[in-house]
């Protein structure tokens, strides 16, 4: 009972820490402009870390989605295959897939980097130079993630759908033509579906960046401390991404 209470308290205080950090690190237009080089640097890191693996995974997910859904639809009509695959990819799989990849590859390395800076007094060195570590390290990462995730998601959507097209073309178990698949896909995906995916991208990006930086900043206790905050930050990113995913989906359903 007591342990349960402590877990709840710890969870709430971590959430609070992340939120406060986020509140302090959202820049005004002027500091946004000042930080532009570091933001671009960070975006390049996010892109180069994630693009190769995202291409591979999105492509295969697209193919799997087609093959799997087609199999489920055998007794109905495979004509709706295009819309099912297209909508799953743009609204759900693209955003979550990219968020998990970014949390695993970029988020973890942000925590490890800031964590070791905390442990080796590099953050204190910044403070003695009157440089606020939050402005210097956190702000560019949050902005960079908020900007890059939507782009990565669009890319993953496209690659996934491409993989799906390939599967439609090559898999003998699929009866419909590529043209029919494509027509159905294009006719059913509305702008709104893509926008929901992009909104998710911004929210997930900010979440992963804030969580990863917060766990990095609070790191204590040498290399062991860095290792433990890195694992914790990835777990927290995954959980929060899924929770926000649900919240956004629920809200999007309410939209006209």
């Amino acid at each position: 009972m007591q342990r349960c209470g402590r877990t709840v308290l710890n969870t709430l205080s971590t959430l609070g820490e992340v939120l406060l950090l986020l509140g302090r690190s959202i820049p005004g237009p002027r500091s946004l402009w000042r930080e532009r080089t570091r933001i671009v640097e960070q975006m390049i890191i996010v892109g180069s870390e994630t693009l190769p693996i995202a291409s591979l995974v999105a492509f295969f997910i697209g193919m799997v989605l087609v093959v799997q859904t087609a199999d489920q639809l055998v007794n109905y009509s495979q004509e709706v295959l295009g819309s099912i695959v297209g909508l799953s990819m743009t609204k759900e799989l693209g955003p979550v897939l990219i968020a998990f990849l970014v949390a695993g590859r970029v988020g973890s390395s942000i925590t490890a980097q800031i964590g070791s800076m905390a442990v080796y007094d590099e953050l204190n060195a910044l403070r003695t130079m009157d440089i606020d570590p939050e402005r210097y390290l956190v702000t560019p990462r949050i902005i960079a993630m908020a900007l890059s995730l939507p782009v990565l998601i669009l890319y993953a959507d496209a690659v996934g759908i491409l993989g799906g097209c390939l599967a439609v073309q090559l898999d003998p178990a699929i009866d419909i033509s590529l043209a029919l698949f494509w027509d159905n896909l294009v006719s059913e995906i509305a702008m709104q579906d893509i926008v929901v995916g992009l909104v998710k991208g911004v929210v997930f990006g900010v979440t992963i960046a804030a969580v990863s930086c917060a766990f990095g900043l609070r790191t204590r206790g040498g290399t062991a401390g860095v290792a433990s905050s890195t694992t914790q930050s990835v777990v927290w990113s995954f959980v929060l991404v899924i929770v926000f995913d649900f919240i956004i989906v629920r809200m999007a359903v309410l939209l006209p």
């Binding site: 590099e122 204190n124 003695t128 009157d130 440089i131």
Partner: protein, 268 residues
């Protein structure tokens, strides 16, 4: 406010107590450091030397008590905008604390670059000057990862000097260095003392450093300043805590060595 660079400021530590949870690390530290003085704070491992220097540098806030630098409370000083500080404080950290993703020159010019206080040309010439001062000329474009431990320490010192500080803290500037490098760093700190009229506080458990650089030493033990004085006075101190520290540091006065010889003579 226009600052007169590198003139030295005094430090007053007034009854500082610092606790982590139930652990009382500092238990009423009092210390006066005069402007322009180089003070060595000595003490065994875990006596709270790093904590004391972090408090003086404003990186942590004491549980109770006050610290003034240049007649200003540390939190007041820290709250001033960077370009309104009447004097500057720098620090050299135990693990050098260079930013790994920046080159030596970028590390050294970081404060000036971030606060846009100098032109590119000035920053470059200041960088050249401080690198020469620590005998690391020509390493501008190296990354910290390419430097040895001793070289990193020198660059860290160069970075601290680049802002032209009035007060310079060192936390274990020779940690993890062999005796030869230790002496070299000691000589560099002594050179800073000679060439710049600034206040330096050197926290160390290394007697070699204290011997080379200190105008005065203070011994930290049991959370207080147990002993203060010149290096010579310190070596001759009758205080049991100081004696055991000296013994551990194997720095024995010639009389002690003579005593030892007598003993071995008797044994043999």
């Amino acid at each position: 406010m226009k600052r007169t660079p590198g003139k030295g400021v005094d430090v007053k530590v007034d009854n500082v107590i610092h606790e982590y949870g139930d652990l009382r690390v500092l238990d009423g530290v009092n210390m006066d450091i005069a402007a322009g003085e180089t003070l060595c704070v000595l003490g065994g491992s875990g006596t709270g030397k790093s904590v004391l220097v972090r408090l003086m540098a404003g990186l942590e806030v004491p549980t109770s008590g006050e610290i003034q630098i240049g007649g200003m409370l540390v939190p007041e000083y820290a709250a001033l905008p960077p370009d309104e500080k009447p004097f500057l404080v720098s620090m050299v950290f135990q693990h050098s604390a260079l930013l790994g993703s920046l080159t030596v020159e970028e590390n050294i010019t970081l404060r000036m670059r971030e606060h846009r206080t100098h032109s590119e040309k000035d920053m470059h010439s200041i960088c050249e000057q401080v690198l020469d001062e620590v005998e690391m000329g020509g390493s501008n474009n190296k990354l910290p990862g390419e430097l040895s431990g001793g070289m990193k320490k020198r660059v860290a010192l160069a970075r601290a000097l680049a802002v032209n500080p009035d007060l310079l803290f060192y936390d274990e500037p020779t940690a993890e260095l062999d005796p030869v490098l230790t002496e070299q760093i000691g000589l560099l700190i002594a050179r800073v003392r000679r060439d710049r009229p600034i206040t330096q506080v050197v926290v160390t458990h290394d007697m070699v450093i204290a011997d080379i650089v200190a105008d005065r030493v203070a011994m930290l033990g049991d959370g207080r300043i147990a002993e203060e004085g010149s290096y010579r006075e310190f070596l001759a101190s009758p205080d049991p805590g100081t004696r055991s520290f000296l013994e551990a540091a194997r720095v024995l006065t010639s009389r002690d060595q003579a005593d030892n010889k007598d003993k071995t003579g008797k044994d043999g």
